[in-house]
């Protein structure tokens, strides 16, 4: 029915009620009343919806296409690539000294793990052995990084599942960890501190007290999260029995890390294939049996405590010595020497402009990052830049677990599952 809007609009209303209302302006369509349930075969059983890439709980730019049967998920397809940065291509343009800056931005929640795996791969191709102090310093930093990453998980996991205060509590403790990391490495994130040959600088004075203080603060925080959540009936309802996976499924889908450990399979590369000085420190591999969201939350919570244990041992037993290998071809000279020695100046110049050459070869080195097995496949052709830098990001493979985990789950559980997989899209898309 069309209404003519004209200047005598005040009269319009009156005219409608007295004159126009009796005229039937209609179309020729017939209105019919029907009832009863909509027949299934006409509607189709399922609906496909899209979650992300911009969505508050998709942990970065992950897009999930979900096929729903009313509220139940029939199948889910993760669509990735929204953060593809071409890091592997950029890595081929950078020297081996610069390579750390590139890889560190892949898993940006625990950047030192990426740097470590890249440095270990380069050192393997160079057949270089770093001194013990460098090993222990690396271990200290990687464990601090793991603590930061797991605290981030506690914060975001809590918020995704509705315990919004967890966001503030998790970040409160993470700030303390980042403060000590900043004191040691100079940056809060994306540190570029672990480099081929050792580390960029030595530990600052007074680091032991700073690190031990942080351990205490984080321990108290973990106790608080445990008291808040682990026996909270709402939390248990939302996480126990949700997103269940099995060991065989994980092995088939190349899933590692806390997800694999939640299924009853205690595989941790720090114990099974130790690197750095992990075979000389005392710590446990945390694993559980049920393979659900609650288990993964619990594993990451306890892994913070294990990291604190390792960090305390690092503080006690940090060896003296060099923080980097004294090989002139790989390590830049100390800054003071540059003023005195022409040779030192030239070495410094060549190292930071051309970079050092790595003999031709290929290697694959893997370590245990907070998300699972992170590996670096490095191919060199004898020049100063790699032929191929490929990082095996654990989250890339862990995302494949989402489809089986979400079978038969409700949409609300989908958020819990994504959160418990703890993907970092930087290392998924690289």
């Amino acid at each position: 029915m069309s209404t003519q809007i004209d200047d005598e609009s005040e009269d319009r209303l009156e005219r409608q009620t007295t004159e126009g209302a009796q005229e039937i302006h209609g179309s020729s369509r017939e209105v019919v009343v029907t009832g009863g349930p909509w027949p299934d075969d006409e509607l189709g059983d399922t609906m496909i919806i899209n979650m992300g890439p911009q969505h508050p709980s998709t942990h970065g730019v992950l897009r999930l296409m979900m096929e729903l049967d009313s509220e139940e998920v029939v199948r889910v397809k993760p669509v990735i690539g929204y953060l593809h940065t071409g890091m592997e291509k950029t890595g081929e343009e950078l020297t081996y000294v610069q390579g750390g800056t590139n890889v560190t931005r892949m898993d940006y929640a625990s950047p030192l793990s990426n740097e470590l795996v890249f440095s270990l791969a380069v050192e393997r191709l160079l057949d270089l052995e770093v001194p013990p102090r460098a090993q222990w310093m690396r271990m200290l930093l990687v464990e601090l990084s793991r603590m930061g990453s797991h605290l981030l998980f506690q914060a975001t996991n809590g918020m995704d599942l509705g315990a919004v205060s967890m966001m503030l509590y998790g970040w409160r403790e993470r700030e303390e960890v980042l403060r000590v990391v900043e004191a040691i490495t100079g940056l809060r994130m994306n540190n570029n501190f672990i480099r081929p040959g050792g580390l960029a600088a030595d530990l600052p004075d007074g680091w032991q007290d700073a690190v031990l203080d942080v351990c205490e603060v984080v321990e108290r925080g973990v106790a608080e999260y445990d008291a808040l959540l682990s026996e909270n009936p709402i939390w248990l309802e939302r996480t126990v029995g949700v997103g269940v996976t099995t060991t065989q499924e994980c092995l088939d889908l190349s899933i590692t890390g806390p997800i694999l450990r939640s299924t009853g399979f205690a595989w941790d590369l720090r114990k099974a294939q130790p690197y750095l000085a992990y075979d000389q420190v005392d710590f446990d591999v945390i694993y559980t049996e049920n393979g659900d969201v609650f288990d993964r939350y619990r594993i990451r919570l306890y892994e913070i405590l294990e990291s604190i244990r390792i960090v305390r041992q690092c503080v006690e037993r940090m060896p003296d010595g060099d923080y980097r290998v004294q090989d002139k071809k790989v390590t830049p000279p100390p800054r003071a020497r540059i003023d005195e020695s022409m040779e030192a100046l030239i070495h410094h110049f060549k190292l930071f402009t051309e970079g050092f050459r790595v003999p031709a070869g290929e290697t694959y080195v893997a370590i245990e990052s907070p998300r699972g097995e992170i590996g670096c496949y490095l191919v060199s052709d004898g020049s100063g830049r790699p032929v191929r830098v490929h990082v095996r990001g654990p989250s890339f493979y862990n995302l494949q677990s989402m489809s089986p985990m979400m079978q038969g789950a409700l949409v609300a559980d989908a958020v819990a599952v994504i959160s418990s997989v703890d993907p970092i899209m930087g290392e998924v898309d690289r």
């Binding site: 990735i80 690539g81 593809h84 071409g86 592997e88 291509k89 950029t90 081929e92 343009e93 393997r124 191709l125 057949d127 092995l251 088939d252 889908l253 190349s254 899933i255 590692t256 399979f265 205690a266 595989w267 114990k271 099974a272 294939q273 130790p274 446990d284 591999v285 945390i286 694993y287 559980t288 049996e289 619990r298 306890y302 031709a360 070869g361 290929e362 290697t363 694959y364 893997a366 097995e373 590996g375 496949y377 191919v379 052709d381 004898g382 020049s383 032929v387 191929r388 490929h390 095996r392 890339f396 493979y397 995302l399 494949q400 898309d429 690289r430």
Partner: protein
């Protein structure tokens, strides 16, 4: 979570077998079954170079008979612009190499399998039949390097937009740099 749960670590070999003896038994088994394969020790890691047609069968053998429970990674390398190509004797180098890393949890050992792939026919069999976890990795290799995996259920682009043309990680694809400009220069945009 009970206390004794912490003690139940999986059975692993006493010493992780990362330094293979020249007669690394898994490599020996592969060499015996697949004629023309070559064993190489790369900085202490066992690597087997096999023909690309048998890649899926090697994977099946490793999975079914040698207890290699997990395929850790599938990737590929473009050797077009290599300065110095390291290739063991007995292997015919091609432009591309497809590399698969395997891990055996019960035996706590790793094995790398490499196959050479020529540029004019970049195709290898897919490993998704034995190891479903190869799904995303093979799609990534196809997307970025253009190597097809025969038998993969859904070989589509995964990281680049669907309508992207070309394979960016190939050496003949430029990194596409925007030139650096200084104050006063005309903008490159």
């Amino acid at each position: 979570m009970s206390d004794d749960a912490r003690e139940n670590l999986p059975e692993v070999d006493a010493a992780p077998d990362l330094d293979p003896k020249p007669d690394d038994e898994v490599a020996a088994a592969v060499l015996e079954r697949f004629a023309g394969s070559v064993f190489h020790s790369s900085h202490g890691q066992p690597v087997v170079y096999v023909g690309r047609e048998v890649l899926a069968e090697v994977a099946a053998m490793l999975h079914d008979e040698q207890q290699f429970t997990m395929l850790v990674d599938v990737t590929a390398v473009d050797h077009l612009l290599d300065g110095e190509r390291h290739c063991p004797a007995g292997v015919v180098p091609e432009r591309f190499e497809v590399v698969a890393n395997f891990l055996s949890h019960p035996r706590n050992r790793r094995l790398r399998v490499v196959c050479e792939v020529p540029a004019d026919d970049p195709e290898v069999p897919s490993l998704t039949g034995t190891y479903p976890g190869a799904d995303f990795a093979e799609r990534e290799v196809y997307d970025l390097l253009g190597i097809r995996f025969r038998g993969h259920p859904d070989l589509t682009r995964i990281l680049m937009p669907d309508d992207w043309v070309g394979h960016p990680l190939r050496k003949d694809a430029a990194p596409s740099r925007v030139p650096v400009t200084f104050k006063g220069d005309p903008s490159p945009r």
